[in-house]
Assembly symmetry: C2
Homo-oligomer: 297 residues x 2
């Protein structure tokens, strides 16, 4: 991989048998995600740097969702023989730029020719002395909160899949998620009882928190501001915008539960509550739309 930067945690970068990354905490957080062309991205919808940003964000958000600060990425790239070399360079640029947003860098990688284009990213992170925030700690009475945009990427996906290229805000949201990585450690310091990054849809991922914690959760639809551009696009495309908000993926906001009364800092908003029981409801009722985000199905 070319064009790799060296962040503060990089003790030995690319070029040797392995990289060496600072793990001052004595523990390292690690997660892997793979994106495959045709299933997770399309080259006619996203440029190579966009794919790099998306692949990095999907992994870095997993690290943040543990309450950790990302330190490094490693990248395995499968490329068809006829792929232009500049595409891989653009991808590396996007990965490097997204990692830099949270102080991380690309420390290693491997590339192979392959019949199918795919990029597998592993992200590492540091807990900074905090306990990891797992999925299973929510307790009845906790509040449910969200940090980051939701529904934007799904709206952009619908716009692109109908053959449009505007509204630009929504299309760009699909191409490059905007994740506030620092919100992960922030939530851990605030005493978050459980946390997840919303990659497959709010109802589905909050459902993971509910089932892991053996509790029920209710989401208040009034907690979400549907911006004008999203509302207009939904109307023009004949879509319920709450379908994007509640079941759309790929924005990677952080969803977390906190003890009741926790004062949430800027960027976080309360979107619901935790109660005895099971499953996830919206305004006290089951949601009747689809429950998740199936890429390109």
């Amino acid at each position: 991989m070319s064009r790799l930067g060296a962040g503060p945690a990089t003790l030995l970068g690319p070029g040797d048998d392995a990289a060496v990354v600072r793990a001052a905490d004595g523990r390292v957080v690690a997660s892997t995600d793979v994106l495959v062309e045709g299933r997770h991205f399309r080259r006619d919808w996203c440029g190579p740097a966009d794919v790099g940003h998306r692949a990095a964000a999907a992994n870095l958000a997993d690290i943040a969702a543990m309450g950790a600060t990302p330190t490094a990425l490693l990248v395995a790239l499968c490329v068809p023989g006829d792929l232009d070399a500049s595409w891989a360079e653009g991808l590396a640029d996007g990965l490097t730029a997204e990692a830099a947003l949270c102080g991380a860098s690309v420390v290693g990688g491997d590339m192979s020719s392959s019949p199918a284009l795919a990029v597998a990213v592993t992200a590492l992170g540091d807990l900074g002395g905090l306990d990891p925030v797992r999925r299973d700690g929510a307790r009845p009475g906790d509040l449910l909160a969200l940090c980051g945009r939701i529904g934007y990427a799904a709206a952009g996906y619908t716009v692109l899949s109908r053959g449009f290229r505007t509204p630009k805000m929504l299309v760009e949201a699909y191409r490059r998620p905007v994740v506030r990585y620092a919100a992960g450690p922030e939530a851990a310091r605030l005493g978050a009882t459980s946390m997840i990054d919303v990659s497959d849809g709010l109802l589905q991922d909050v459902g993971h928190l509910a089932s892991a914690g053996r509790v029920g959760m209710d989401i208040r639809s009034s907690a979400f501001d549907v911006p004008d551009q999203m509302r207009d696009a939904a109307k023009a495309l004949g879509v319920d915008p709450y379908q994007w908000v509640l079941a759309g993926g790929d924005d990677h906001p952080l969803a977390a539960t906190f003890p009741a009364g926790t004062e949430l800092p800027d960027g976080w908003r309360e979107i619901g509550s935790v109660h005895d029981g099971s499953g996830v409801t919206v305004d006290g009722r089951p949601w009747s739309g689809p429950l998740g985000w199936d890429h390109f199905r």
Copy 2:
């Protein structure tokens, strides 16, 4: 991924947004390799567990080659829709079993459908307070040593590519490399000045040590015992067995340089020396055969 074990370094295993792995040293060593069907393995030559062993070994050997002890693997798997589910289970079994040989475990993964079968593995490791052994530290006067089998996997590859299934020892060596992972930290403690795992052929990988260290190296061909089975197979197939030994890959022995006079422990053998200059010679002369191992060219 199913069937994953939890080793001593696993603080939080699969099932959350990310895993948490012990990094007691305050640094973590990390490396990624990807294996693609048709290029790095063939399903008619290797069972799924074999592919798991090979993919894990390729990565774990990179960790050992830094002088570190492997702690964890993360796996990204791209699978065609028609692949039998038992194949992925067999792969996970092989990965888990190979990792267990050095006390590591599979702590996370991701799986996606894809037109091409590929497995990308990231290995993590712990330096245990030692400095990482890089590729660039060899000095004139050092001795060059090797730990592990060499030429066996290449011989097995040739046997399989000619349509044979025996000698079994050679075929099995290709299917499942035998790597002495503990030799990595052992070499670091002995003061190794540079180290690499031989994955692409001895001359090529020792060449990396020579160029990184800006030195020349000479290999003594008499240092290698060509076992009877390899010699017989070479004769039957019309191959020079030194072609396998000097240019064959996939066995993943460790090659390292040590200060002159270092007493090498069991398993290591001196195979050459470091001198002023550049490049790698065999018995003082340039080697005229191919210089590397091109998978399935």
